[in-house]
């Protein structure tokens, strides 16, 4: 309810620049939330998540260049690409954990980056792709900021709902079990690799859906979107927002992108501020902004109950 009201208010009040900025937060936030399924619920810290997101973004951009910007087709392309890269990555990583998982996802992600960076004919290499046709849905052309923002909002809400339903379902419970007691899960007859693979597919599909919309916010996509540094940025966003909360991913990406956008206007050293906030979060709010807000809300509820 609060999220829907916030999105509606922003759509009515914000200007062109801010709407595009908010759309970017929602899209990146959706990708970070899909990473939360892996990190927060499966304990699988991946440094290759940008590869799923970015590969889907490129697939959507290339598809739009050749076949037009039909929204459902573009979304489908992104979801398929995200899930396909996730399946490849998943097949390799399902039997690993901790440091090996981190390194393997980093390497696999960089393979995707290499392909994007060197396949100039299709991806535009270092220059990326510009001049994309706008998205369309039936007779409507979704080129201005407001419909793009609303689209990003709908995507974020749908993805959040999907992620919650995943976590609450037996499969999501089994994922938590595989994080907490992998040996016991095997002794209960669960296949840990299968749980991890299925989770990778779901996370890849959600990241892919977000990636599909990403190029159309600024009608540009560049190789930075598949680089491992974006994967690391996603982890930073997730920690700031709150690992394991799902909705905190949106807070984390809002904080990060706000610093990147506004503080970088004053200084090149904006990443210093990100670092500072990251350290403060880890020290003061180990469950991130989402955890802090939740604690604040329960404290206020308790105080109100005492007064009543």
């Amino acid at each position: 309810m609060v999220a829907v009201a916030g999105l509606s208010a922003a759509a009515l009040l914000a200007g062109e620049f801010h709407l595009r900025f908010l759309a970017e937060i929602l899209i990146i936030g959706t990708a970070v939330m899909s990473l939360d399924l892996l990190v927060g619920f499966g304990g699988l810290v991946s440094l290759g998540h940008a590869a799923l997101f970015g590969a889907a973004a490129y697939a959507a951009a290339v598809a739009a260049q050749h076949l037009g910007g039909n929204l459902l087709f573009i979304l489908g392309t992104g979801i398929a690409m995200g899930a396909a890269v996730a399946a490849l990555m998943g097949a390799v990583i399902v039997r690993t954990s901790s440091l090996f998982l981190l390194i393997l996802t980093l390497l696999l992600g960089q393979i995707v980056w290499e392909i994007v960076f060197h396949w100039r004919d299709v991806t535009g290499g270092a220059d990326g792709l510009r001049g994309l046709p706008p998205l369309s849905f039936g007779p409507w052309v979704l080129s201005s900021a407001r419909p793009l923002f609303l689209l990003a909002g709908l995507l974020a809400l749908a993805a959040l709902w999907l992620a919650h339903s995943f976590v609450d379902a037996p499969l999501g419970r089994a994922l938590i079990g595989s994080r907490e007691q992998p040996i016991r899960m095997s002794a209960l007859g669960y296949s840990i690799p299968r749980i991890r693979f299925l989770t990778m597919l779901v996370a890849g599909a959600i990241a892919g859906a977000a990636g599909a919309l990403y190029p159309f916010v600024n009608l540009y996509i560049g190789p930075q979107s598949v680089h491992w540094t974006l994967s690391a940025t996603m982890i930073i966003m997730l920690v700031i927002g709150g690992v394991g909360s799902l909705w905190g991913a949106f807070l984390g990406s809002a904080v990060y992108l706000a610093i990147q956008t506004y503080i970088s206007a004053y200084t090149d050293r904006w990443q210093l501020f990100v670092g500072l906030i990251f350290v403060l979060t880890v020290l003061l709010l180990p469950n991130g902004l989402a955890g802090g807000l939740r604690r604040l809300a329960s404290r206020m509820r308790r105080r109100r109950a005492q007064q009543a």
Binding site: L171, A174, R184, L198
Partner: protein, 250 residues
Amino acid sequence: MSAVLEVSGVSKRFGAFRALTDVTFDVREGETLGLIGPNGAGKTTLFNIITGFLRPDAGGLHYGGEAIDHLSPERRVSRGMVRTFQKSMVFPELTVRENIAMAARQRAGVGLRWGGAQRRLGAAEARVHQLIGDSGLRRSGGERMSDLSYGEQRIVDLLISLALEPRLLLLDEPTAGLAQEEAERLLQIVRHHDARTSVVLIAHDIDIVFGACDRIAVLNLGQVLCCGTPEVVRADASVRAAYLGALADS
């Protein structure tokens, strides 16, 4: 009585250390077999081999008359072979109900579902309620595992295994660290669960093993010293020398 599990000539080495040497015994349908022996005798290694977590260097296993050496731990579980671990292996962040449901759903074949199968999920939920009710745990099931006492955690640990409706239940020191009364209650839950279930029980408490088991196998330095009824084992000279000693006379 036919044998549910036959262990024949199983050996296992870890480097130069011979953990198990030519171990042979069987577990019969519906019986409780005690597995005793000093620390390091190879009891847990044997459990790991039976359940497929380790592969034997020599020898083989038959379960329900069928060779199972090639089966993964998961496949063995799906055939009704269920184990617990020396230390309690519950899911501390989940509730009591969710802990047991993790096993009940897997038993109902819906462990990895996402949507649908409402009827089977409902049946699994009902089974969880029944297990909690029958156990005598005075808990609603909504409590987080980490809020329970150690004894209660061990009972839930057992209920998780029982939710899989085992045909062969392998209990690795389920009563360690429990008071006498708690330990007896735990074993009572096992026995009342299903008379057809065969149980292999590792325990260090001799009174419990001799009181609760139909037969006892004694393991020492990776070898079976003796396997038979409590009376036979108590009277066996090699067992008295290696393990029981004066305990047997008391």
